[in-house]
């Protein structure tokens, strides 16, 4: 197993494990936002705007993992 194969496996692991946390977090935040909108429909606009910003911030964690995976695949200093 050479460095190239290991880095491909590393990229796959980075994306697969790294997307679990953001997936759970996004699910929780959308559920909470739906709950809030159901309770108070008149605040829906503000809640969904805040939700979008929050979702994008959570999503950033998964994007970091993707960037690490791409670095491993395309700009690996070890290969």
């Amino acid at each position: 197993m050479d460095a190239k194969m290991i880095s491909i496996i590393g990229a796959a692991i980075a994306v697969s494990i790294g997307s679990i946390g953001p997936a759970l977090a996004e699910g929780r935040s959308v559920a909470a936002a739906l709950d809030a909108i159901a309770r108070q429909p008149e605040a829906g606009g503000t809640i969904s705007r805040t939700l979008f910003v929050g979702l994008a911030m959570i999503e950033t964690m998964a994007i970091y993992c993707l960037v690490i995976a791409l670095l491993l695949l395309f700009a690996n200093p070890l290969v």
Binding site: T50, F52, A56, M57, T60, I63, Y64, V67, A75
Partner: protein
């Protein structure tokens, strides 16, 4: 199946002496010229009694001012030139990928890096202008002197995360479309492109909002210690 080209290198279009001019630079300059010409043409005949075009323009400008003032909670006009331009440029740059043959310049690392660096410098500029050099430097040691290294570190990490967030989101969409296109035929990537439209708008909005939050936190006397999460989650009218 062919692998899409590496997202970390850009194609060189032409060279000016020793300087290689790459594809994102050309796209950026075309967007800059278009936006500048559009802004010049739109504000050429500004009347007290606005026509249709001027109403749209005023709606855009006052809308951006309102958003800024919602976040910094004081007069948003000094911040408008930087943040408004940032938002409109990001919107144009993120959505330029929808034009055939154009790759969004924000999908390469250099453009987000330059924009994040601009925000980084603007934070210090507005901070020093609002509180004086001494007061601004003292704000790094708040609430306690022991927080100094963490405050300095957070200046670097949030600039870095601003850069990687924009780059990663735009690049991953572009990369995904390229990958799907190489797997399946002509019309399959269209839903993904619609998703990219949404992501581009949301990311432009988020970059501008975070830049506003950072600048507002540096310039506000009383709320210097509050971080962005506290401000974003603080009240219903903040974001």
């Amino acid at each position: 199946m062919t692998m899409p080209a590496s997202p970390l290198v850009s194609a060189v279009v032409f060279r000016v002496g020793p300087i290689a001019v790459t594809q994102p630079v050309v796209t950026t300059w075309v967007i800059m010229v278009t936006l500048t010409a559009g802004a010049w043409a739109a504000t050429r005949r500004v009347a007290l009694n606005p026509g249709r075009r001027q109403v749209v323009l005023e709606l855009l400008v006052t809308g951006i001012i309102d958003q800024i003032e919602d976040i910094v909670r004081k007069d948003g006009r000094p911040l408008l030139p930087l943040l408004g331009t940032l938002f409109i440029f990001l919107l144009a740059a993120n959505l330029s990928g929808l034009l055939p043959g154009v790759a969004p310049p924000t999908g390469k690392l250099e453009t987000p890096a330059a924009l994040a660096l601009t925000v980084f410098l603007a934070v210090h500029y507005f901070g020093i202008r609002a509180r004086g050099l001494k007061g601004y430097l003292a704000s790094f040691a708040r609430p306690k002197l022991i927080m100094l290294p963490l405050n300095l570190l957070s200046q670097v990490t949030r600039t870095f995360s601003l850069m990687v967030r924009l780059f990663g989101n735009v690049m991953s969409g572009e990369f995904l479309i390229g990958l799907v296109l190489s797997l399946a035929g002509l019309l399959v990537p269209i839903p993904l492109m619609a998703l990219e439209l949404l992501v581009g708008i949301v990311q432009a909005y988020i970059f501008s909002v975070l830049a506003t939050v950072f600048i507002g936190a540096a310039a506000n006397q009383d709320e210097a210690g509050s971080d962005r999460a506290g401000r974003l989650a603080g009240g219903p009218s903040q974001v």
